[in-house]
Symmetry: C2
Subunit: 250 residues, 2 copies
Amino acid sequence: MLQNANFHHGKEATNVAFIDREPHCLLGLFKKLPIERLAAGQSLFFEGDPAKGVFEVVEGSLRIFKIISDGRRVITGFLHAGDIIGVSLKDRYLYSAEAITDIRIRRISRKSFDAEVANSPELRPEVFARLCDEMAAAQDQVVLLSRKNAEERVCTFLLKELLRVLCDGRGDLVIELPMTRLDIADYLGLTIETVSRTMTKLNKKAIVVPAGRHSIRILKRSGLAQLAGNDDENGGSRMEMAPHLKSLRH
Amino acid sequence: MLQNANFHHGKEATNVAFIDREPHCLLGLFKKLPIERLAAGQSLFFEGDPAKGVFEVVEGSLRIFKIISDGRRVITGFLHAGDIIGVSLKDRYLYSAEAITDIRIRRISRKSFDAEVANSPELRPEVFARLCDEMAAAQDQVVLLSRKNAEERVCTFLLKELLRVLCDGRGDLVIELPMTRLDIADYLGLTIETVSRTMTKLNKKAIVVPAGRHSIRILKRSGLAQLAGNDDENGGSRMEMAPHLKSLRH
DNA sequence: CGTAAGTTTGACACGGATCAAGTTATGTGG
DNA sequence: CCACATAACTTGATCCGTGTCAAACTTACG
């Protein structure tokens, strides 16, 4: 996990002046390290493996997932360029990581990473902030899986992907979705059929238009946001809710 | 969140020697602080409020939850004695916290907390460890909500509660469940009716026996574990899974 | 006791899963 | 570059688990 919130990833790869002295940010830790490559479908590590490395995604996308008893797969997140994998771990990886596309990554040993962070009062807040963002994302996912129906789930997902690429600069409303329908289904707690049907429905509503198998054009961002059913726009739970009235929800 | 993993909470309240010098653990930070009380049903803070405090639960239980647009409530966790609330936050609370029972808590300002942690190389690993445990718990919840059916959810919940109280010492297999059925339902992504029916079913299977409204006796812990469908017992996802075979899952 | 909140139980409905074809991309070897 | 093979995706028919609605029951408490 550890999606980067607002980084223009790789942009600061140009000014490499200070990095050997003291990195200003987490990504700086990786600058000097060699690039490794992984082909689409290859595994970076497995759930339960000793967490020996921390990784920066330089290019491409990964899925992180758990497999439960009977073989069911739960994708807990997608990772893209600029993200860092493996911070929120103690000794073992909590999940497996697999390349969706061909990827380029940099690797730092957990020992070095921990040492660098421990020694740098500048880095610690960034680690903490990333952990908090990751936590917030996990909770959003809990809300999605607890209470949202198929349409809300798909719209939430598309909106999130849209916001991610908008941060990357271009204002174009075409999102790349490198992952398969099965990946999306396993991420949203649905089946591929339901994801597919929901996409078709959104298309008929003229909210999105498919643009090839792995990208999609957003026609009505507002419509997406509305159907996503996020609580972001309303006042949240700020208003007092008298305990004896709670049962009114049902 | 931030359930304590294995603390015998309150036990070390007896040796108060060092705490004003340098606390050995996070809970030590709270030792000197006055106890505050909150009656059952009262709110500790609301989602979106400035995160001004960090709290130790001294006695009693709380629920933490989010309310989404149309009033639906998602409980993201329960807190009990020894737990700490408010670590994984930046400036605003991500959720509301409400007392389930009458509770006793201690409060420290976020400023003091951050300062103490920043100054103590002893405390930082503990904060980090608690964040990681919290993250792992959130991911378990994602797995539960993604792919588990009602029976698996309820069994997972009961098993977790069982393990929690077993850590507290006594080997008795009666668990206290201070929360209501509605709380459990909102935590497991179900309705009260489904929770109730599932409990009845587990009773008929002679796995549990109700012992008053707010406690339950576990007859077959192994049966619970089996029905919970955790991946803990199998080899996890260690075995290589050839990419072209993945679709066999469906 | 009597009232209300919490819980259980039953009947029924419906959203999404499952099962089954059919269709469209993606690649691969001739 | 085309023909073919295969994986990925879409669409349709049906089923089932859980939600919804309603009512009875139990517990807590004034």
